[in-house]
């Protein structure tokens, strides 16, 4: 049983790491679409094409490294709360700097409310990108060995 468990640790670590990567991209995308003028580089408004393209590219990359379809789907759904946490952390950065200008939960709610459409739309994009990556991985036998 212990051997079985230790064999699962690397797989769990891979799933967590890849979910963390997508979550980071998703959180950054949500923050950038909510406050594009605060980004580096700053823009007046975020480009949906760029945001969805970045999400798809990240999901595709993760798909190429995923163990299997189950892990890919798990990573996508695990990325959603991670993305929400990353977006919340970024939007709370003024609070961490000691500039308490509003209630922290208001900031989180504001950011997540603005980012909700992106969270919602990201699910099919991430799933499609991940599956596409897994299919290519199978086709070119990247993950066979």
């Amino acid at each position: 049983m212990l051997a079985n468990l230790s064999a699962r640790v690397p797989r769990f670590a891979r799933v967590t790491a890849l979910a963390g990567f997508i979550g980071l991209v998703l959180g950054y995308a949500v923050f950038s679409s909510s406050f594009p003028s605060a980004m580096v580089p700053a823009t007046g408004e975020s480009s949906p094409l760029l945001v969805f393209g970045a999400l798809f590219a990240a999901a595709f990359l993760v798909g190429l490294l995923s163990d299997d379809l189950l892990a890919g789907i798990l990573q996508t759904f695990l990325a959603l709360p991670i993305g929400a946490a990353v977006a919340s952390l970024l939007s709370l950065s003024p609070v961490f700097a000691g500039l308490i200008v509003t209630r922290p939960d208001d900031v989180i709610f504001f950011t997540l409310r603005l980012g909700f459409p992106l969270f919602f739309l990201s699910i099919p994009i991430l799933l499609f990108g991940t599956v596409f990556g897994i299919v290519l991985q199978e086709r070119f036998q990247i993950g066979r060995y």
Partner: protein, 233 residues
Amino acid sequence: MNDAGFDPRSTAKVVRRALWVVVCVAVILLVVFASLSAANFTSIVQAKASIYVVPRFTVTFAGIGSDSRVGPDGSVTVRVTAGVENPSSRGLHIYLVAFSGWIRDGPAEAGLNETRRLGDDRLTGTEGEMRFFRVFGTSSEPSLDPIPARGNQTFTFDFTMSAATDASRFAAVRNVTDFAVSKGGDAATVPWNQFLYLVFTIDGVPEANSPSAPNYLRDIRRIEREIGVNIAS
């Protein structure tokens, strides 16, 4: 290894390793950009929260005769001195200056001018309800020197009225000051109510231009400060 000397097992390992390197580089870049964005966002919020204005209003009358009354060729000038303190790390520009100035309308309060009594703006204070005649009400988008980051800048705005610029309003001002003189005072002792509205823009924060952009994206680069009481009805 196959006949051509190609080992698919080691190639797959190399490819996977390269992909992991790409993920790691992407994570590092994301963390760097996220940190810079958080710092940028923090500096914007700091600018919005910390900037403050130290105002000073001075009212002067020109053309006062020997009887202490303001003559028909006189004028009234309100000099607004706004010291802007900017403790933030962002440079600022003044985008909009709006000023309104009211003079306390003694004749209207005494029931000597029914039109103004009905039309004046009202302010409730310690003396009860007071009536104020609006002398100035103006706004402009001037090109002024920037306010440096972690610095300050003092701006002076003069608002002048005479019979040449607005005959009817200036006549009302003269009527008010004459009333004060008739009560033993002088033009300079008549109370005023001033309201200054300043809009600043934060340097380096682009504006959302599309018509469908939400309001908060337009407002994020702007800082509004109001000084005084706006009693306009």
